[in-house]
């Protein structure tokens, strides 16, 4: 039994004590590890691989959009005559890639990276805890995610191919898809549902673990209002996952029942598929699926974005050497945001005809939710004001996040309104909007986080030259990719056309050329990621060594540990004396006051007898 396992058993009697010095086998240390840092890195690598897969699918789709009907160069032959006749992408293959691009990016890429990787690695460090509250559950969470991901990926290789009806998996289309195959079980659609059950269980375990850890394992003196904003965001994200995912699990179970057992939860009476009446009892309601799905779907958006804002919220004060502006209002905003995100879901369903009254309600709440979002972003922008900004690599990404996410957020406002949405629904405008939120938004923050915490994980900086080679082309390509979508969307391009609108050439003609701009941007974006991959692997061994354990001169507890943090994280139990962002405290010699440094440990200007007065001042700040 490893030391961690012994620790979770909780009874630290003498016969367990010697375990702490046992050498842990390679498997227990790096593969089936219960250490939150290893699990965080596992999450990070797995999710980056899935992001790459999702991105790869998208590049192929962009080929089909820009050059419909032409064979995909180099790899077109790999997909077989059924899916890609003559090497050119068929509509079915496009649908499959579209559905899986969304699913992989959201459930297997961004959420695990944001919540699983950064949350796991950073949260216990920032609250001064030795590990998560339930380390073995943490491991189970990762492996459930891994299995779910594997299952999702494996579904490409069954007879029917992977799921093809969009990441939202709407019934009745999703229920009746792939029914012609000999075994309904081994179809992409069914595997999608089963994989989702794994992923949901994984995030449930993760959420319980995070919230418990944050509530109960905070270091001595780390009161709620001294928590770094990152931890607050993780807490709210944890609640979103905890409470929003179960209804999706219900939807998945019901749809599984519909597919495998023949129930009709989501299938109405008298349903015809392919000209034949389906042999079911009927009486179900397709709208029920959409309600259950979007009850998850909208909080999920905030699961994607809150960790990103949180990371940026850590990096900006560190690089402006100034406290985070409006820390308290940000904390309250993030809580309000979390609450409101549960009552806006049906703005995804304006087109379903659920009724004007319902639409009005959800339109109102949707407009309301922009208030806390704007508070968060505004606070971050004002934090920049008057700072002497260090444009380090992480800061570059973090600052860019602000306008990029801003575009994503502001383009969402029109969609909140029922009448405008009726026109824009299912056009490229919507795609452009949420990709701005998630791709140059969240992903830029993720890159910022990787550049920021990499020195803590390895003791070395990531290279600056490769960093710039990564950053600038990415920024340009991201905008080249998503900005034209807004134009096309307003011109009425439908989001699911696999030929990029050729079929409607009379109306789409004017903006067809943008397809080429976007596709080339996508491919350039892919090339721009190569320096990043090289940078990560090169810097592990050959990066510039950090001068100290706290290379960015940060205040939060994650930087007050040895580098990389050992098992158990802290050499001695940290005690917290001050708030999270005490940069440039008047009177202090250093421009940062670590949270675990008492006034006596810090150097102050002037004589010793002034100390007491100063410490009152710092208490007031915190």
């Amino acid at each position: 039994m490893s030391a961690t396992a012994a620790a979770t058993d909780g009874d630290h009697t003498a016969d367990h004590a010697h375990d702490d010095h046992h050498a842990i086998s390679f498997w227990r240390q790096y593969i089936f590890s219960t250490d939150h840092k290893i699990i965080g890195i596992q999450y990070g690598f797995t999710s980056l691989v899935f992001l790459a897969i999702g991105f790869f699918l998208m590049m192929l789709m962009r080929w089909s959009i820009a050059f419909p009907g032409q064979p995909i160069p180099l790899i077109g032959g790999l997909f077989g005559e059924t899916w890609a006749p003559g090497g050119a992408m068929s509509g079915d293959l496009y649908n499959m890639f579209g559905a899986m691009h969304g699913t992989i990016m959201i459930f297997l890429g961004v959420v695990p990276l944001a919540f699983g990787a950064f949350g796991n690695y950073v949260t216990p460090l920032q609250i001064g805890a030795p590990d998560m509250a339930f380390p073995r559950m943490n491991m189970a969470s990762y492996w459930l995610y891994f299995l779910g991901g594997l299952m999702m990926f494996a579904s490409f290789f069954v007879d029917s191919g992977a799921a093809k009806v969009g990441w939202t998996n709407y019934s009745p289309l999703a229920t009746t898809a792939d029914l012609g195959y000999a075994s309904i079980f081994w179809t992409g659609q069914t595997l999608w549902l089963l994989a989702m059950v794994f992923l949901i269980s994984s995030s449930l375990l993760g959420a319980v673990n995070f919230i418990t850890t944050i509530i109960n394992l905070r270091a001595k003196g780390l009161t709620w209002m001294r928590l770094p904003f990152f931890v607050w965001a993780m807490l709210v994200t944890g609640f979103l996952l905890l409470l929003a995912f179960p209804p999706l699990e219900v939807a998945a179970i019901m749809q599984l029942m519909d597919r495998l057992v023949g129930t009709s939860f989501f299938l109405p009476t008298g349903l015809y598929v392919g000209g034949e009446q389906v042999d079911i009892a009927g009486g179900g309601n397709p709208l029920l699926y959409q309600h259950l799905f979007w009850f998850l779907g909208h909080p999920e958006v905030y699961v994607l974005i809150l960790p990103a804002i949180a990371i940026v919220g850590e990096i900006i004060p560190n690089n402006t050497r100034k406290p985070l502006w409006g820390y308290k209002s940000m904390v309250y905003a993030v809580m309000v945001l979390g609450f409101l995100s549960f009552i806006v879901w049906a703005h995804h369903m304006y087109m379903t005809g659920m009724g004007a009254g319902v639409s009005t309600f959800f339109q109102t709440t949707t407009v309301l939710i922009s208030v806390p979002s704007v508070i968060l972003i505004t606070s971050l922008i004002i934090s920049l004001w008057g700072g002497s900004i260090r444009f380090t690599m992480p800061m570059l990404w973090a600052v860019t996040f602000l306008p990029m996410f801003g575009i994503g957020g502001l383009t969402g406002l029109p969609l909140a309104f029922n009448e405008i949405d009726l026109y824009l629904h299912d056009t490229y405008y919507v795609i452009g909007h949420f990709h701005y939120v998630v791709a140059p938004g969240t992903l830029f923050a993720m890159f910022a986080g990787i550049y920021f915490w990499f020195p803590k994980m390895t003791g070395r900086y990531m290279g600056n030259v490769l960093g710039h080679l990564h950053f600038w082309p990415s920024l340009l390509a991201m905008n080249g990719l998503f900005m034209p979508m807004m134009i096309q969307g307003m011109a009425g391009f439908h989001r699911r056309a696999f030929d990029g609108g050729v079929a409607y050439e009379a109306t789409t003609e004017k903006w067809m050329w943008l397809n080429h701009v976007m596709s080339w941007s996508a491919w350039i974006l892919a090339i721009a990621q190569i320096p990043f991959v090289i940078n990560v692997f090169r810097s592990i061994r050959h990066g510039k060594k950090c001068e100290s354990d706290n290379p960015w001169k940060a205040t939060t507890l994650d930087w007050q540990t040895p580098t990389p943090p050992p098992h158990g994280n802290f050499l001695k139990e940290p005690v917290v004396y001050r708030g999270p962002y005490e940069y440039s405290v008047p009177g202090a010699i250093d421009d940062f006051c670590p949270q675990n440094a008492s006034d006596d440990e810090l150097d102050w200007e002037g004589v010793a007898n002034e100390k007491e007065g100063k410490s009152e001042a710092t208490v007031a700040v915190s």
Binding site: F134, N216, V250, G262, T263, F265, D279, L288, L292
Partner: protein
Amino acid sequence: MEIPYTVTARTDTGLWNAKIGIWLFLASEVMLFGGLFSGYVFLRIGIGDIDNPWPERQLPILPGFINTLVLIGSSVLVVFAWASLKMRNYAKYQIYMVGVLVCALAFLVIKSVEYYGKFTHYGIKLSDQTIFEGYVKKDNIEFEATDLLLDPRQTRLNILEGLKAGQEPLFKTPDGEEILLDTAWLRSYRVEARNALVEAQRAEVEAAEAEGRVANPPKQLERLKLTAVKPLQFAFNPRRVRTYADGLVVYQDQHSVEGTLIDDSIVFEVHDINLQAVKDQENALAWQFVDDGIKEQFFDHQAKVLKDTEARGVRPDPYELNVLKHVHGHAREPVSGELKEGGGDGGAPGVGVESEPSEADETVPKPETGGETEGVSPEGAHGKEGHHAEESYPLVKIPRALKLFLSNHGPAYNTYYAIYFTMTGLHGLHVIGGALVLAYFLLFNKRLYQQNPEHLANRVEVGGLFWHFVDLVWIFLFPIMYLM
């Protein structure tokens, strides 16, 4: 550093880790079952059409009520078990915990009995919304095949599972070769056919080039027609048949057979007649299948219910008013043909005609049938549980064309049963999961108790909280599923 607060509570929150964890987990569970309960409400409100009335009071209340008591009892016992641990009385803890597990087992047994009853009970809806409830005696498509059309793109040969016992799938290929059809033969044929196709495509392209015209190569493999050496008898499971007509059956795996349709009717033992959704009850389809005596019973029953409710000054319950339970009488036309439990795929063809398989042959005179099997007692083959000797249910033969929907009272029967089985099934899984965890505490945690009794008490507290939650879910499930 060790992880703190695994056993003792943190002073400012007043909680140890696992207690926070379980409450969070229960919050998530509330959302899970909340989603299901919302689904129930949504389906029930949304049903709103006369063809699919929401079934009420379909379940026997007594077993449900007993189960409620059993679960409440086990919830009380788990508290006693926890309290015994707190008082450091391990022996009592063991006794109470065994009690909890016995209750869990009792719950599951009662639930299984209920499930079994539903799964064996069938309902058939006819095209005018007449519903017969009872038991399926025969449900297959009997077919005499002379030819088999093979789809060479398929890898499977599921169509042969419909072949009646005692026959070999012997066929003649178009070349006159006699073969025993199996997947190995299909595979070798497919390879051959594909090579031939590629060859043909190439030849066509070359020919077209030579002639200077646009090539029109064959696109896909042609079906292969195999002729049966002697006609084969099939009894297909209708759920695996894609489409069928008089001379053709297309199976799920795309292969098909040609020949003569022998019989596709459904033989059904009618226990209840439900005309709730029938507009013209006087001329309901039901009366084409059962004799006038039963029709009279039905309208007598309706008149009685109306009189009763009028006397009490209440509105008649539509279910009670329009459903005749436990009909006894005869089918309009006696059913003949060999009948066996489970849909009759065995049995050599040509066995004599048999009487209706009701067990009531001693007291109730049999309907006139062919009578050739007089003297062969059908009891052994058809023994059905729970029928009273004096009841005789009509056995009707329904042409498949009149069937709208046929299913056992499982999840597929209607949305009520769907949500009933989903919710109680999920609840049952929670009972099993909770019982396993509590059993683990009982069987494998003695050493933990000796080292740190408080830790085991904490564990039982956490398990007990979950157990209470499972109980609470049932307390909601019982009224909405059994009573409302």
